[in-house]
């Protein structure tokens, strides 16, 4: 038995195919194809959740994505726990566990429901008016209480083991919505040969045919026609049909994002499949066929479990074979709800009465009701309901009268009318227009190449919808360049009339400020709350929304927005279009973060860059640090060494014998062409005309505003060829900077730029024995000081491999930088490594590199400078060509504040206690005893223990630093004050003799 409320013979599910699932620990049987909601209703369970604020018992309201109440937790296993799942969308699978939310200790007995009794206190926006005293209490008492009471489901606590996928797709026509309208449009478009994608959020296409079984298309039952048409479409090579796929966002230039639910309905999913898949579709044309959503009636206590949309009751009956009650009432403001009563009556359910607030319903439905023997109370309203955990009765009164009649019911179906789903249209930035005749907002002015058809376009009659859809399909295909060979024609019969109805509060909501007539079920917003907001001066619909939280729940106001607007308009004494809608924003329904991320996680979140020698360094035990996207060897600890010991050893070794260092991450740009030198003259502050081929120069690059942008050594390989190096982090932006100037400011220069960062592996060999180490490996280059002085470059071979060999130093020792094609990097590294070993040297990492260069006062752009340092501030004025007529930054450098005194200048700092190492980033003051806020003179940019100096050394940016040489300043730390002396920046070999070996 799959539930006492399953009607034999009704619905489209197969009775033999069952699935077991639990809800709050209790086991139930469902049919394959059931949603959790339909299965629970089949088993007579209406109470499925508690509301957000008042914790009122709530039941299933809808049969679709607009569901505000039936949000549940779904657990597959410990790691796969999903909060806030709409039971009306989630399909049951065998073995599924579901739980209710926002209740304690249980759904039927929830202590939070005390809020309901206190509700007079909790009026809209009450929290803005209280909880202010004492001041600390908000943080420590009120807010934690409010937070604990709010929220819905419980967040996952384990990492999600599922994976997600992402596809880009291009098509001529994207059709959103697979109802009769969408299918017809897709058919017409597909027949032209255009590439068509059709998506529908439900497991099966058909849209309204799920509940309306009176329709025939081309003589076939509407639902059957829909399935057949979808199957035919899917067989066409130019068509993709996606079910369980929601179009959730409509972005610029017809870029539409879809989410396809792949495995959430499967009992034992193939783990190779993604849980969900995002489709990012670029469509030449979009057809929006998203239908309409039925609004509930707004009246007192309209939120009890068992009160549903009339169309939802039809879906449960006609599609799932479930009667939502045994004795149902209907409360409506339009004709369409009558169909629900008729269907249920014919299925054997007692219809207690149809209460119609209108005096004159349609003749046809009245006649049908009479013939079925259903009592119709026109000009009446339901003014209240009774029942605790499920509706048990309705109080009905003639409009304007207080005399009420109580009618026992176990379900109440309501319909205030239908709201066209203009979400996607509005997201496309089209402007909606209010249609007074139908009381609906419809597509008005289009902003993108799309068309709305069918119910979401306000089209009422089914045949008219089909004709509109076929024309749209053909037209949109044509606009994409596809002609129809033959016309598609379809004949439909017998859909109900769905226009008409009302929005806002019905009679039962009254003027009474204590009545709870719900508009937004999930957020517990009542008609009275809207009126209160207006009384308090909230006259914009956006203010009303934010003050009351109407439409801000997980359903984003799919049921409530129009009601809220109508009530606000009435309270303001203005027309609905004057008040206007709030903005529709993506996503249409909530979308899993994991789906939006898809593959972009872990290593694929952001690529990691490794040098060609990475594996060798790893094998030698290197510890790596992240520098931008690069992994760089930080230090090479040997057995028993900590970082400090390893770095001290590396530092000593380089100065005493030799060290080797992987410098491959430095940016490298090949600048070639007859005007290469002229170009570099403009890009760098230095002059390049005088640099002879075979020589190198340290260059500084500024931004146009005069601040240091990057630096590096540039070697002139030939008259027309330069080998430029940049900082590791600056490589890409320097390349962009150069291209920008070359292409747009200096296009007259005949120069080519090529990024060569990853083409060269670079091994620095530094130390007194550096020449000895490479001498036996290098061919064709005279390595003597005379033939190959400091700051030179030669081309030759190393171990038979072509090399650009630089004689340069970032340590102050005699040094070489061996550039070889990247693929040869590991082999050359190993060859040099062996020689270094013989010479008693070692490999060193970035930490040692930093210390050695600091001992020599060499700066690191980005560490010792930030974006506010000029060449002069960094004592680099010598590198600025004084006679140059132009270079990037020449004018910025001359601005008043860049030339005036009092600028921060880069200097050395020596702690009075040589054992104390300053903290990088520490601030410097003249008077450590001054009150806060202190006048800070600058900060420590680099600071190390220098084993070679036998003391700590530091560099700092200090106001007027160069004039403060020898002065004592202070670095106040939380626990002590450190006295420092301002010094020169060179701590070792001031004369620079070691460069020559």
């Amino acid at each position: 038995m799959t539930g006492a409320n399953r009607i034999p013979g009704a619905g489209r599910l197969t009775p033999a195919k069952t699935a077991r699932f639990t809800f709050d620990g209790k086991s139930y049987t469902a049919l394959e194809g059931d949603t959790v909601a339909s299965a629970l209703l089949a088993n007579g369970v209406h109470l499925v959740g508690r509301s957000f604020k008042y914790h009122r018992p709530r039941g299933v309201v809808s049969a679709g994505p607009e569901e505000p109440n039936a949000l549940i937790g779904v657990e597959r296993d410990a790691a796969r726990q999903q909060p806030n799942v709409r039971a009306t969308v989630q399909e049951v699978f065998d073995g599924m566990k579901t739980i209710s939310q926002n209740r304690y200790p249980s759904l039927s007995f929830d202590v939070g429901s005390i809020n309901n009794l206190l509700s007079p206190f909790f009026a809209a926006g009450f929290y803005y008016k209280t909880f202010m005293w004492p001041k600390q209490a908000w943080k420590h008492i009120y807010e934690p209480q409010i937070r604990a009471a709010a929220g819905l489901g419980v967040a996952p606590t384990q990492e999600d083991p599922d994976h997600y996928a992402s596809r880009y797709a291009h098509c001529d026509v994207l059709v959103i919505g697979g109802g009769i309208a969408g299918l017809s449009a897709a058919l017409a478009a597909a027949k032209t040969g255009a590439r068509v994608i059709l998506c529908d959020e439900q497991p099966e296409v058909g849209g309204a045919m799920h509940y309306d079984k009176s329709v025939t298309v081309d003589g076939v039952d509407g639902f059957t026609w829909a399935q057949k048409t979808a199957a035919d479409l899917a067989k066409m090579s130019n068509v993709t049909v996606l079910t369980r796929t929601t179009a959730f966002g409509y972005y610029a230039q017809n870029f539409v994002a879809l989410v396809e639910r792949v495995t959430d309905h499967v009992s034992k999913p193939d783990r190779r499949l993604p849980r969900e898949r995002m489709w990012q579709v670029r469509a030449k044309r979009v057809i929006i066929a998203t239908g309409a959503i039925e609004r509930h009636m707004v009246f007192a206590n309209n939120d009890r479990p068992g009160i549903l949309q009339a169309s939802a009751a039809r879906t449960y009956l006609n599609h799932f074979g479930v009667a939502v009650g045994r004795k149902v009432g209907v409360y409506t403001a339009n004709d369409s709800a009558y169909e629900a009563a008729f269907d249920l009556k014919r299925a054997g359910v007692t219809v207690a009465a149809i209460v119609d607030c209108r005096e004159k319903p349609g003749e046809a439905v009245l006649a049908e009701a009479r013939s079925l023997g259903i009592e119709v109370l026109t000009g009446h309203s339901v003014i209240d309901t009774s029942g605790k955990l499920r509706v048990a009765g309705m109080s009905v009164a003639r409009n304007g009268s207080t005399a009420k009649r109580n009618i026992a019911i176990d379900a109440l179906l309501t319909s205030a009318g239908w709201t066209p789903s203009v979400h996607m249209f509005s997201q496309s930035r089209g402007k909606v227009a209010y249609d007074a005749a139908s009381g609906a907002f419809l597509p008005g002015v289009y902003a993108q190449d799309c068309l709305s058809i069918g119910a979401c376009n306000g089209t009422n009659d089914l045949q008219a919808t089909i004709e509109e859809a076929l024309a749209a399909g053909e037209l949109m295909a044509k606009a994409s360049g596809f002609e129809a060979a033959s016309k598609v024609e379809l004949q439909a019969k017998n859909a109900f009339q769905w226009t008409g109805g009302m929005s806002g509060a019905a009679e039962g909501a009254g003027e009474d400020t204590t009545v709870k007539a719900f508009i937004d079920f999930q957020n517990d917003v009542c008609a009275k709350d809207i009126r209160l907001a207006v009384r308090e001066g909230m006259h914009s619909i956006e203010h009303i929304k934010r003050f009351t939280t109407n439409g801000m729940a997980t359903d984003q106001g799919k049921l409530s927005n129009l009601h809220g607007l109508a009530i606000a308009a009435e309270a303001l004494g203005r027309g609905i279009p004057e008040v206007g809608l709030t903005t529709f924003r993506a996503p249409y329904t909530p979308v899993t973060f994991g789906t939006l991320i898809s593959h972009s996680r872990g290593e694929l979140f952001d690529p990691t860059r490794k040098t060609p020698m990475h594996a060798l360094e790893e094998a030698e035990g290197a510890v790596f640090e992240d520098v931008g996207q690069w992994k760089r060897a930080w230090y090479y600890p040997r057995a028993g060494e900590d970082m400090h010991q390893a770095v001290n050893r590396e530092c000593k070794t380089v100065r005493e014998s030799v060290g080797m260092f992987d410098a491959s991450t430095l940016g490298k740009i090949e600048v070639v062409g007859p005007d290469a030198a002229a170009f570099l003259n403009l890009i760098y502050t230095n002059s390049w005309d005088t640099l002879k081929p075979g020589r190198c120069r340290y260059g500084i690059m500024l931004r146009e505003d005069g601040f240091v942008y990057d630096d590096g050594v540039v070697g002139r390989m030939a008259e027309d060829r330069f080998h430029v190096t940049t900082t590791t982090g600056g490589a890409a932006r320097v390349m962009n900077h150069m291209e920008d100037y070359l292409q747009t400011e200096f296009p007259h220069l005949n120069v080519w730029l090529t990024s060569a960062t990853e083409q060269w592996a670079v091994i620095a060999v530094q130390g007194p024995k550096a020449r000895d180490v490479i001498a036996s490996l290098v061919e064709g280059i005279d390595l003597s000081n005379e033939a190959f002085p400091h700051m030179s470059v030669r081309e030759g071979k190393i171990c038979g491999v072509p090399t650009r060999l630089f004689r340069m130093s970032f340590t102050g020792e005699m040094g070489f930088e061996v550039n070889v094609p990247a693929d040869f990097g590991p082999a050359i590294w190993e060859a040099i490594r062996a020689e270094v070993e013989k010479a008693g040297g070692c490999a060193y990492g970035t930490e040692t590199m930093h210390i050695l260069r600091a001992e020599k006062g060499y700066i690191i752009v980005g560490q010792d400078t930030d974006g506010t340092v000029t060449p002069d501030d960094a004592s680099l004025s010598w590198a600025v060509g004084k006679k140059k007529p132009d270079f990037v930054g020449i004018r910025g450098l001359k601005r008043p504040d860049l030339v005036k005194s009092g600028r921060k200048q880069l200097v050395g700092l020596l702690t009075k206690d040589p054992k104390v190492v300053l903290e990088e980033g520490a601030q410097i003051v003249a008077d450590p005893n001054q009150p806060k806020p202190m006048t800070m003179l600058g900060h420590v940019t680099s600071s190390y223990w220098s084993e070679n100096c036998g003391r700590s050394i530091a560099m700092a940016l200090v106001v007027d630093g160069k004039a403060k040489l020898g002065q004592t300043l202070y670095v106040p730390m939380p626990d002590r004050t450190i006295a420092v002396e301002v010094s020169e920046m060179v701590f070792i070999d001031k004369e620079g003799v070691r460069l020559n070996g």
Binding site: Q253, F255, R282, R285, L475, A479, E739, T744, P747
Partner: protein, 113 residues
Amino acid sequence: MLLIYCPYCEEERSELEFRGAGDAHIVRPSNIADITDEEFEEFFFLRDNPKGLIFERWRHINGCGRFFNAARDTVSDKFKLTYKAGEPKPDLDAAAPAAALVETYEATESNAK
């Protein structure tokens, strides 16, 4: 995500291939070393930041690598036209609608009705 027509590749490509590069038609003065502080401020910092038509630069950085110019509406984000660097600022009133762009929706809609 915008769809941008690269005038060098002569194709519409996704915004992911491009990088915005600020206002177009701001010429670096040939006598930049000699301009006043005010002129430098004007050249380097002050911008119209128009609500409506903007002339801006893009680089097809993950494509052909070329910088080019675009005329775009900053309210609708629609491109009116893209053109090669160095070409003069187009007179959009005189310019024919961009060949690559689809006809406006309004036209389609009136056909439909």
